[in-house]
């Protein structure tokens, strides 16, 4: 065998092994989550709230509902802001200095540590009010969401061919109609995907919620009060010494993992479909 073929074989083996190693960890995580989580799952998870250790009737209802509420409110704030800002950048600001400055700023925000965002929201929404609240948690998540939605909206809108805009203007359409009726439609799939990935991204966050929505052992839908979430509950329970709390922590991890996996898969399927068209 000549030298070239040997080198080729060695490199290929090494890279295949590295890829396998990465995959092993992914499946290990999924398997651990699944095996530990599925044992802890049961109807009780959905009908009972978190209870002190030793109480039989315990579950995650408060954390589940709280988490959904936090994520929903974050979406209601973050998605419109992100889409509007992204639309500004792509359709109005274009390559102006100001628009590029906002793009850079948004990129910096995207990589800001989430705990810093939590601390910021604590300073503006928790400290002045004097208590933790669901609103603060949702705002912290929304702040994390905006740069992601902004970026994908900006990218997807700028992929819409310029001739499509010109064609709409040539029919006598005003700018806002060109943007809303033609450009948005052309970029719809990409924008939806970006939103889904942003949701998946914030749904698993703990740090921004620690000092904002904090936690609540009781069922509550009042966003003015502290609110339970799956991630903070998981953090508290998994680090506790009590067996039944640790089990609940695994259940929370399982639900979160499944949710994020599901949203990611949906997002990716949409991207694939678009690629084929």
């Amino acid at each position: 065998m000549n030298k070239r073929k040997v080198i080729n074989a060695v490199i290929m083996t090494l890279s295949t092994l590295s890829a396998l190693l990465g995959l092993i960890f992914l499946f290990w995580i999924l398997w651990t989550l699944f095996s530990k989580g599925i044992n802890a799952m049961g109807i009780n998870i959905f009908i009972y709230d978190t209870a002190p250790p030793g109480v039989k009737e315990t579950g995650l209802r408060n954390a589940l509902v709280g988490h959904l509420l936090l994520v929903m409110v974050a979406c209601l704030i973050g998605i419109p802001f992100g889409i509007m800002a992204g639309t500004y950048l792509s359709e109005f600001g274009k390559n102006s200095k100001y628009a590029n400055f906002i793009r850079d700023l948004s990129d910096v925000m995207m990589s800001a540590p989430s705990i810093v965002i939590g601390a910021f929201v604590y300073a503006i929404l928790v400290n002045p009010v004097g208590h933790f609240s669901g609103w603060a948690g949702a705002v912290a998540l929304a702040i994390m969401m905006i740069p992601i939605v902004l970026r994908t909206t900006d990218d997807m809108l700028s992929l819409v061919p310029q001739t499509l805009r010109e064609a709409a203007y040539a029919l006598g359409a005003p700018k806002y109609k060109v943007t809303m009726q033609v450009v948005y439609r052309g970029a719809k799939v990409g924008m939806v995907t970006g939103i889904l990935l942003a949701i998946a991204r914030i749904a698993g966050e703990t740090a921004p919620l620690l000092f904002t929505s904090f936690n609540n052992n009781f069922f509550s839908t009042d966003l003015n009060q502290a609110m339970a979430s799956l991630t903070v509950t998981m953090f508290n329970f998994a680090t506790s010494p009590y067996e039944d709390w640790i089990d609940l922590g695994w259940a929370a991890a399982f639900i979160l993992g499944a949710f994020v996996l599901f949203v990611n898969i949906v997002g990716r399927v949409i991207i694939k479909k678009r690629g084929r068209n």
């Binding site: 061919p161 001739t163 040539a170 029919l171 006598g172």
Partner: protein, 261 residues
């Protein structure tokens, strides 16, 4: 100076001493062009790449205004008004002067909605009126028989030639006075090209047509008048047959005989 032939028909558009500067450029892309556009006739703009024929066409509905910094000088008279006037209503202008692009530009919506788009912009909401006018436009663009059973389908599912005829139907639906074609067949196969060329000839009954083309045979086939441009200047405007057989300017002759391109 350009050599212009006598235009017998009324002038739908009259371009007078028109110059155009792209943003940030001191050099004009078009240099004091003057020419009439005959009503209900097809005027072809020909010339080598970069001669300014598309730039001139795109000035006629002021699509250049989408990009800041572009500058016009001179006058383009249409219906007694200078369309370069700052006060002109661009939306009203573009309804009267429609445009077809090089690549088909179907909107990401159904075939029906594509054709109805311009009509809806004008506030037509009545369902039966919309239906009638969409049908008329599609018939006018020789597309009706191919799509009448799938008006709800996505317009992107049509073939390239069908998409271009759809764009023509969409432009025709709002009944413009002038229709501008910017190399409408350069992305199409020969059969679709023929269909579009036949359409151009049919449409001049109802409207004035200006067509930019790379293809001299196409200009000869479809147009009544041909304008030859070179390096941002108009060299010659002639009646098409006369122009191709007996051009008045040496440069025009060299171009049509293929001495340069």
């Amino acid at each position: 100076m350009a050599v212009l032939c006598e235009v017998r028909e009324p002038k739908e558009i009259d371009i007078q001493n028109f110059s155009f500067y792209y943003a940030g450029s001191e050099k004009p892309a078009l240099k004091s062009i003057s020419m009439p556009v005959a009503k209900n006739r097809v005027t072809a703009l020909i010339g080598p790449s970069g001669c300014g024929k598309s730039t001139l066409l795109r000035s006629l509905n002021r699509i250049h205004d989408l990009y800041p910094g572009n500058r016009y000088e001179g006058k383009i008279m249409f219906k007694g008004q200078n369309i370069l006037d700052k006060k002109i209503d661009l939306i009203a202008l573009r309804i009267k002067i429609g445009m077809i692009f090089q690549k088909p530009t179907p909107f990401p919506m159904s075939i029906f909605d594509n054709v109805a788009y311009g009509l809806r912009l004008q506030g037509i909401r009545n369902k039966s009126e919309l239906q009638d006018r969409v049908e008329d436009a599609l018939k006018g663009a020789a597309l009706w028989n191919e799509v009448k059973d799938r008006l709800k389908d996505d317009a992107n599912a049509l073939s390239g030639g069908q998409q271009q005829r759809l764009c023509i139907a969409r432009a025709v639906a709002v009944k413009p006075k002038v229709l501008l074609f910017d190399e409408p067949t350069s992305a199409l196969d020969p059969i679709s090209t023929q269909a579009v060329e036949e359409l151009v000839i049919d449409l001049k009954e109802q409207m004035t047509i200006v067509i930019v083309t790379h293809n001299m045979q196409q200009a000869a086939r479809v147009s009544d008048y041909t304008a030859f441009m070179y390096l941002g200047e108009l060299i010659e405007l002639g009646e098409t047959e006369e122009f191709f057989i007996n051009p008045k300017v040496k440069l025009s002759e060299e171009y049509i005989t293929g001495k340069f391109g």
